[in-house]
Amino acid sequence: MISLTLDQFRLLKYLPSLPEQIDNVLIATRASSSMDYSIVEMIQYDPAMAMAVLKVANTPIYGYPGQISSLQQAAGLLGPGAIKNITLRIPILERFTDNLSEPLPLDYVQIWVHSGITAAISSGLSRLMGETESDVSFTSGLIHEAGTIALSVYFPAEFAKAQDFAEKNQVSLLEAEKQVLGFSHLEVAGEMMDAWGFPPQLSQIILQCAEPKKNNMNWELAGIVALAKSLASEWGFPSGIKNKTIEQKNLLALLGISEKGMGQWESELKKYAEFALNTMKIP
């Protein structure tokens, strides 16, 4: 076991975002009258910026502490000016922490795209299923890899050890993290969400999205995120992380969706994914 504890993640102030995304924001702040709209549009597919915006929106200063579960609610509450200032505070994700270091162990562009597509499909699935909280579903899909990002960026050596363990022992990364670190990236996300004052609903969804079970709180939204994640991977946007996967047919059964029904929804869901991909200005 490595002496890394979950408590250390409570001290993190922000997750870093991709340099390309930060650059997009900086360009947008110099743009003309449409700048505010562009910023909100840009951050809606960025997990790090979404986490930061949610963190601020859930502080007591804006009047709804621990009650804002979606990026859309947060954007409405904070307004473009405050969001712009939040995005300007977000650190840049450096794949090389110094001139001599090895690159960070993951392909973050791939994770960003995967997260954005998962968000779009989650939201689409929610709407098609008649779920009222499609915005929460979207947000959960977007930030479901927050723990992986935090762990791999801020503690790359420990994360690499878990990756090695998974590789050598042919187990999922989730399992390897538990063996090597004593906790998983999902718990990391849960801990950060708790420390950042997110509503319990969000962490309940993220904590069980690797294995949603009926009767757990918010199992349905967790199931939607898990299915969206699986569809995103199947349609060419995997996260690149070797994680435990749940068979799609099990997820469909859990959510009460027939294979035929899923087939009918596919083209519409792909449109959501395509829209997300076009909106994300990631090269």
């Binding site: 007591p60 009047g63 200032n85 300007l88 650190p91 110094d98 001139n99 001599l100």
Partner: protein
């Protein structure tokens, strides 16, 4: 310098610059965050109700100032007392107040007009040896809130998660306290102006306009719930003569004394007003005419028995009272009710003053 050394130097320098930029960026980020907080606090605290400002302080101040506990005391310079207006201490009772000299630290902060910042209050002279089990760390900040050199209150800050309070935190707290002071001062001025607009300047009773508004509301309520409503109109007998004999200052003193007597016999829902000049009015909700008569007589007797003094000589002043009860069968509105009571007062004057006369709806027909 050979190419290898050159390359090494280039890498070193780029790393140094990168690290510096990161540090600069963090500092700028923190400033931007503080600025956002300040702007939002200003937006949410820019209120005209003192009560609302205090509620916002409890909700937002601990987070903005990165502290666990705060107390905010309002300072009454006439009474030299500090009253707890807003706080989030579990051990303190709302409405707590203390004499300025009872808190050495707040007294010094107010007298010097400067903040007092102690990293360890138990080692400071203010709280030497004292402990508070509520606090996990021991800093203490006391900031006087001032508007144009006038102290309006004191903000005290205690305890936080990180275990210390640094100069940056303090600097920010001082900026925030200025916003808070401005909002509180605005609200106090507004509340004062609002009170003055409905109050008689000399007696502190409701003024004529306010009495008319409240009476109108009571008449509507009385019609809706079929509840009794009575009024008393009172006039100080021979007031002009008193003014001419003893002077206008004495006249004011009589008006003040009579107001005090009226307040003494008023219940919490009654409305005591100065109707104009030496005329006064009492609105008595949920009161039948017998009750009004009883109250009018007590006021009249108390006034008649009060001995006023002028140049060593004692003299008495009496009042005449007219009373009426609202009768929805014969009266349409406040005008009718006032008219009945006024006619009764006229009778009291005509019948020799220093008495109470009961008016009836029939008087309206004869008027």
């Amino acid at each position: 310098m050979n190419p290898l050394e050159n390359e090494k130097l280039r890498l070193q320098e780029s790393e140094t610059v990168r690290n510096l930029l990161k540090r600069q960026n963090t500092l700028l980020g923190n400033s931007l965050e503080n600025l956002d907080h300040l702007i939002y606090l200003q937006k949410s605290i820019n209120l005209l109700s003192m009560q609302e400002i205090c509620r916002v302080m409890v909700e937002k101040l601990p987070f903005i100032l990165s502290v666990r506990y705060f107390t905010f005391f309002l300072f009454d310079k006439n009474r030299r007392r500090l009253s707890l207006a807003s706080h989030n201490h579990p051990d303190l009772e709302d409405g707590h107040s203390l004499y300025q000299n009872d808190s050495l630290i707040m007294k010094e902060a107010m007298n010097s007009g400067r903040y007092i910042f102690e990293q360890d209050f138990s080692a400071s002279r203010y709280f030497l040896g004292r402990k508070n089990l509520l606090f996990s760390c021991r800093f203490f900040v006391s900031i006087p809130l001032m508007i144009e050199n006038e102290i309006i209150g004191v903000l005290n800050l205690n305890d936080n998660q990180k275990g210390f309070y640094n100069v940056g935190d303090l600097d920010f707290a001082l900026n925030v306290s200025e916003f808070v002071a401005l909002s509180i001062s605005n609200a106090m001025l507004y509340e004062r102006a609002e009170k003055l607009s409905v109050t008689d300047g000399l007696t502190g009773l409701d003024n004529h306009q306010q009495m008319q508004t409240l009476l109108k509301n009571e008449v509507v309520r009385c019609g809706r719930y079929n509840s009794p409503l009575s009024v008393i109109i009172m006039d100080i007998d021979h007031f002009k003569q008193v003014n001419d004999t003893y002077g206008h200052q004495k006249g004011d003193e009589i008006l003040l004394e009579f107001s005090a007597i009226m307040k003494k016999f008023c219940r919490s829902n009654d409305v005591a007003a100065r109707y104009g000049g030496e005329e006064f009015f009492l609105v008595l909700p949920e009161t039948q005419i017998e009750g009004a008569l009883h109250i009018a007589e007590r006021i009249r007797e108390e006034m008649a028995s009060h001995k006023f003094q002028s140049k060593g000589k004692g003299f008495n002043v009496t009042v005449s009272c007219g009373i009426a009860e609202f009768d929805s069968n014969y009266m349409q509105d406040t005008t009718d009710l006032i008219k009945v009571s006024d006619l009764a007062l006229y009778k009291a004057k005509n019948e020799g003053r220093n008495r109470t006369i009961q008016g009836t709806a029939d008087d309206l027909l004869n008027a």
